[in-house]
């Protein structure tokens, strides 16, 4: 009874709709799994924004909701980059904020009052569900097998490479950008396949959305032209390609130029030149194709060679001329660092100082992608076998993304989708071969041949060989199931342990195993919020800028939007110089409080003293005569903070602020820095121009108030000496002529 009813449901026209229903259910389940596996941090801690960057996005979203779209568009933010301010409305990618703003207003319209914070926290998991769907669509375009799309969707849903940037609370641009990336590629493939203006226009629309959401849109801007270029080189020019590409390029470029931050970059920046070049090239090719139908072969050959020479000459000359005259902007530093991993370290310390921009370590590939990483080449190989237009795309994407993922940790994110596609293609073809393909014994041809040679061995009479044997089927399918189960276990483990701990709140375990939450950041930011005037300027290293702006709501000098290197270098100089040098800088920038992060008591290694060399390097880039990295290393080239630290180190503001009064926590002479693992000097450093205002429970965040000028016109060191009861020495007699006072 049961098998027959199953047959009814799975075969024929009703079978098709049953399979459709099953597919929908499976996709919904995958989306639900994708969402729920990202909720670890919300369940374990609370519904808050985690990292550094999301705090700015959150603040911008709140501004958008409070002030409306137009004032968001024209937003001049006077609470960051004091005193320069930031034209925030024109220097951000508004897609993320607008998306959550729209969701917020729709929910309000439906009379569902949801706090904007919860929308922001849950936006990334929500969009990851959509990404899984988009992945299904994209992969289904690549393969006729129905299982490939579902597998790809499942992979995309839970692979750690994507989860790392989309857990609940990581309200970052990538949260929606990866969905848009995958969906744009799906539309592009659709457009190329059908040669349809509609699909091309839809591609352009989502490309525009992508541009508004993430700076990584440049990847699409270069990948699609490259796809077209390779197709042209393979001699696969067709009207389909022409229609889809020209539609996409014209509409997409216009769309991207609507974002103020992008503006005229698509026609002026070198990063976008390949799209423009291919656009021109495809016109020429189309023209040549048109001519070819009217001209005999020999003359056409002549025309073609002369045209190619002329075009290349003109194009190259024009490019050089425009680059030299500065109309086309030179390649950006981030771009160079993509080709030469050492470039940033030498030329742009500010880019190199971000851990995301470091080259990827090999284990990271396995950590983020597990068994997909070795299925990936197999999938790419299978694309070579078919090599239709869309498979060419997969191959190009795979090659480019693998390279970039190796150069920068952060670009692992762009590699993940194509790995999921390729792995799903490979795995589905394995499964199809071993599960679906039935033994071809029932066919008449196969039956007749053996009868002719009936006298052979009985065992070879009915050969159940290779993939048709039950044994091989069960071994392969069984091992695939084991791999899949291991993959799920690995993904859950990685998500739970590596990617779900918020950096705002640190969790640690007490000896008895219970959880202990270290909440110093929020403690300090709330202290600032409640004890300082509304416009008290806080100086801190740029890592903490967004958090201070978001949580403490106080103006900062520099923040994670590193648009002004000189300003950051100024802060670096103030941190790495003597007090006498730093104090005028602090005064000039109206600084009221200085914030440092110090992990020496707790062993929190991400503190400012460990980042200190980057401050020195960035400051040295602007003032090579005043700040020198060499001065912070001992004669033997060691970076030390103990008794043998260099004078430059000991006198730097950062060192003094970090260790001020630290010694008083310990018995005399036993003060220990648990991060650097060294003893610190017995004497506490003497701070004259700053006074300690607040130190958090575990000493992670320390706040110092900048003193006003001395009321009586003395310098701070003698004022402090006087307050301590030391008598001022008379100025020793000058050897030279007496300096006379003139009025």
């Amino acid at each position: 009874m049961a098998p027959s009813s199953l047959n009814v449901m799975l075969k024929g026209s009703s079978g098709r709709s049953t399979r459709g229903l099953l597919r929908v259910i499976i996709l919904c389940t995958i989306a639900a799994a994708a969402v729920s596996s990202r909720l670890f941090s919300v369940i374990r801690f609370e519904s808050i924004i985690h990292e550094f960057d999301p705090w700015f996005n959150f603040r911008a979203t709140k501004y958008l909701i409070e002030n409306g779209f137009y004032s968001f568009w024209d937003w001049f933010d006077d609470r960051t980059w004091h005193p320069l301010g930031r034209v925030t409305g024109g220097t951000l990618y508004p897609g993320l904020m607008v998306t959550s703003g729209v969701i917020y207003h729709i929910l309000r319209l439906l009379t569902i009052p949801v706090d904007i914070r919860n929308i922001c926290v849950l936006l990334a998991p929500g969009f990851s569900g959509l990404t899984a769907l988009a992945m299904y669509l994209l992969t289904s375009e690549m393969s006729t097998s129905p299982s490939a799309g579902l597998l790809a969707a499942a992979f995309m849903g839970i692979t750690p490479g994507y989860i790392s940037r989309s857990v609940a609370g990581s309200y970052d641009n990538e949260a929606i950008a990866i969905f848009l990336l995958v969906f744009t590629f799906y539309l592009w493939i659709k457009a190329v396949k059908n040669g349809s203006i509609m699909w091309g226009a839809l591609t352009a629309l989502f490309y525009g959305y992508m541009v508004s959401a993430w700076g990584g849109y440049v990847f699409i801007t270069n990948l699609i032209p490259l796809h077209v270029f390779v197709l042209l080189c393979m001699g696969r020019y067709s009207n389909r390609v022409y229609i889809s590409y020209t539609t996409w390029y014209a509409l997409g470029t216009l769309g991207s130029m609507q974002i103020p931050f992008v503006g005229f970059l698509p026609i002026r920046n070198s990063d976008h030149m390949s799209a423009l070049g291919v656009f021109g090239l495809i016109q020429l090719v189309a023209f040549a194709e048109f001519i070819r139908t009217y001209l005999p072969g020999k003359e056409f050959q002549k025309l073609l060679t002369s045209m190619i020479l002329l075009t290349v000459g003109l194009g190259f000359g024009g490019l050089v001329l425009l680059s030299v005259s500065g109309v086309i902007a030179p390649w950006s530093g981030r771009f160079y660092s993509l080709w030469d991993t050492g470039y940033a370290k030498i030329h742009i310390p500010i880019i190199a100082s971000v851990s995301e921009h470091q080259p990827t370590a090999w284990p990271a590939f396995f950590f983020d992608l597990n068994f997909l990483i070795w299925l990936f080449p197999a999938g790419v190989f299978m694309c070579f076998q078919k090599l239709k237009d869309e498979h060419v795309f997969v191959v190009i994407y795979a090659v480019l993304a693998s390279y970039f993922a190796g150069v920068m940790v952060r670009l692992m994110l762009t590699l993940t989708p194509i790995v999921c596609v390729a792995a799903a293609l490979a795995l589905s073809s394995i499964l199809d071969s071993f599960l679906v393909a039935s033994t071809p014994s029932s066919s008449s041809e196969a039956k007749e041949k053996p009868t002719a040679e009936d006298k052979s061995l009985r065992s070879t009479r009915k050969p159940v060989v290779g993939i048709y044997s039950f044994f091989s089927k069960s071994v392969v399918v069984g091992s695939v199931i084991v791999y899949l189960l291991l993959f799920v276990a690995h993904c859950t483990w990685v998500t739970s342990n590596a990617y779900s701990s918020p950096s705002v709140v640190l969790a640690s375990k007490l000896p008895d195993g219970s959880q202990y939450i270290i909440d110093d950041y929020r403690e300090a930011y709330y202290w600032l919020r409640q004890n300082t005037p509304d416009n008290a300027k806080i100086m801190a290293w740029w890592d903490y800028g967004y958090q201070i702006g978001g949580m403490a709501d106080r103006p900062t000098l520099v923040d994670n939007n590193t648009w002004n290197n000189t300003h950051i270098a100024t802060v670096g100089k103030a941190m790495s110089s003597r007090e006498e040098v730093s104090y005028p800088i602090l005064r000039q920038h109206d600084v009221d409080y200085v914030l440092v992060v110090f992990g020496g008591l707790l062993g929190y290694s991400g503190d400012d003293l460990n980042k200190f060399l980057w401050m020195v390097r960035i400051a040295e880039g602007i003032w090579p005569d005043e700040v020198k990295e060499r001065d912070f290393f001992t004669a033997r080239g060691e970076y030390r903070v103990d008794e043998e630290a260099t004078p430059a180190m000991k006198n730097s503001l950062m060192y003094k602020m970090s260790y001020h009064n630290f010694q008083s926590l310990f018995p005399p002479g036993q003060a220990m820095d648990r991060v650097r693992g060294t003893k610190v000097p017995k004497e506490s450093p003497q701070l004259n121009t700053l006074e300690e205002a607040f130190t958090s429970e575990n000493w992670i965040v320390r706040l110092y108030k900048v003193k006003d000028l001395d009321n009586l016109g003395r310098d701070h060191s003698s004022a402090v000496a006087f307050d301590k009861g030391l008598k001022r020495k008379r100025a020793t007699k000058h050897k030279g002529p007496r300096v006379l006072r003139t009025e």
Partner: protein, 455 residues
């Protein structure tokens, strides 16, 4: 109405009592009543000007500058003690704290005996230097009183000082000569901007320790105008500290004495007049500036007052209303002689530095104004008036405003820019050409059919 009432009360108070702008509680620190009687005219003058003068001995247990953490007095007049120091409740630290809390101090020194070391170290904190042995006396062999110091030449006879610089208002000028007996001189730190000399010694004066006989050239503290007889120091919070080298000049006998220079006539001293000028300045009866009101707005009619945000290239008006206190009333402030009151519009460094012009005068104040266009640079700017001059209390007004960029709808529209017409024409000609092409294309189709048929 309220304004009239306030004015009335002010006038009434002024008629009854001249009063310092910063309170009337004056503490005179002196050793004993015998000393007090020497200065009876001074006390009478001060009380007549409205001060509640209390007297304490430096050794007294009652003496305390602070009560419950607040100042117990507004002003402090310290006469040189006979004993070594000023006692435990007048340590340099107490006195500096008193200044940090806006208290004014007039310190008198005397060349009769060595100055105590605690006073010396107090003065050192303020960058005022005494001689190493603290017992120098100024002598001048050309400007001395022949009647009282024919031998020692240590009673100086000097003119009252004029303005310190052409751009500084003179608070101590006038006719007549001063007699300054046995001045303990001091020099001022060469680069301190808070210090200003009130009375410098004549060019021919020098100082030495009379007990050590003839001085060696290297022992001389200073000579001529580098040697100060009376000096003033205004802290950043405008608390005033005045050093008077000769306490004897305040004694009754010198208020009414007559002096004669070696080649001059016998003239009465104007010490009493000078003492009034000096105490009035020291205790903030003169030279006190007050900012009544600061206004900034767009130059357009009916613009919002003191907005927190401007745009680049806005025409902006800044007004500041300043009064000056003269003995018993607020009067309109006038910028002295060569000086200018300046407004800075600054972000990291000034983008504008403009002279403020007086545009309006009320009974008690002057309104200064400047109009300018905000620079083509967005950021967080400040309207800053930083007027710090010798003998005037400091004016430091800092008003932070944001200067934003053009909003998206504040640029001129494309057709308003004549240079853009070429491009607009190009745009529409392309659109028109395309439409024309489409029309031609659509309607030229049948012709092809005919040709095909004929073939």
């Amino acid at each position: 109405m309220r304004w009239c009432l306030t004015l009335f009360i002010c006038c009434f108070l002024a008629a009854v009592n001249a009063l310092s702008s910063s309170g009337s509680r004056l503490l005179a620190v002196l050793e004993d009543t015998e000393q007090k009687d020497l200065y009876s005219t001074l006390w009478a003058d001060l009380e007549a000007r409205g001060y509640d003068v209390s007297f304490e001995s430096p050794k007294s247990d009652q003496l305390a500058l602070f009560k419950h953490g607040e100042r117990a007095y507004d002003h402090l007049l310290i006469l040189p003690p006979k004993s070594k120091g000023l006692g435990p409740s007048l340590t340099p630290k107490h006195i500096l704290d008193f200044m940090n809390k806006d208290g004014n101090i007039l310190l008198a020194l005397s060349g009769k005996s060595a100055t105590s070391s605690s006073i010396s170290s107090l003065l050192l904190e303020l960058d005022i230097h005494l001689s190493t042995d603290r017992s120098h006396v100024v002598v001048d062999h050309f400007n001395y009183d022949t009647l009282s110091a024919a031998e020692k030449h240590d009673v100086l006879v000097v003119q009252r000082p004029g303005p310190l610089r052409p751009d500084v208002k003179a608070f101590f000028d006038g006719e007549g000569v001063l007699a300054l007996p046995r001045v303990a001189p001091h020099t001022l730190g060469y680069d301190s901007v808070l210090l200003s000399p009130i009375l410098k010694s004549p060019a021919t004066a020098y100082s030495y320790n009379p007990k050590e006989g003839t001085p060696a050239p290297e022992d001389i503290l200073a000579t001529g105008s580098q040697l100060n007889l009376v000096s003033a120091m205004q802290a950043r919070n405008s608390a005033r500290f005045t050093v008077l080298g000769s306490v004897e000049a305040l004694e009754d006998q010198w208020f009414s004495a007559e002096v004669k220079t070696p080649n001059g006539k016998k003239t009465p001293t104007v010490n009493r007049e000078f003492a009034k000028q000096l105490t009035a300045w020291a205790f903030k009866e003169t030279g006190v500036l007050k900012v009544d009101k600061v206004e900034h707005r767009l130059a357009t009619e009916g613009a919002e007052l003191n907005p927190s945000i401007y745009r680049i290239k806005n025409e902006t008006v800044y007004n500041i209303e300043i009064s000056e206190y003269v003995y018993d009333k607020w009067v309109p402030f006038e910028v002295p002689g060569d000086d200018e009151l300046q407004l800075e519009f600054t972000m990291l460094s000034p983008f504008h530095r403009l002279n403020l012009q007086p545009i309006h005068r009320t009974d008690t104040s002057t309104v200064f104004s400047a109009q300018f266009v905000t620079p083509d640079q967005h950021g967080i700017f400040s309207f800053r008036v930083n007027y710090k001059r010798p003998f005037f209390t400091a004016i430091e007004e800092n008003h932070e405003v944001t200067v934003r960029h053009f909003a998206h709808d504040e640029y001129p529209r494309s057709w308003a820019i004549t240079g853009g017409w070429v491009w607009i024409a190009g745009l529409w000609s392309v659109i028109g050409g395309f439409l024309a092409f489409v029309v031609v294309w659509l309607y030229s189709a049948p012709v092809v059919d005919k040709l095909k048929k004929s073939q």
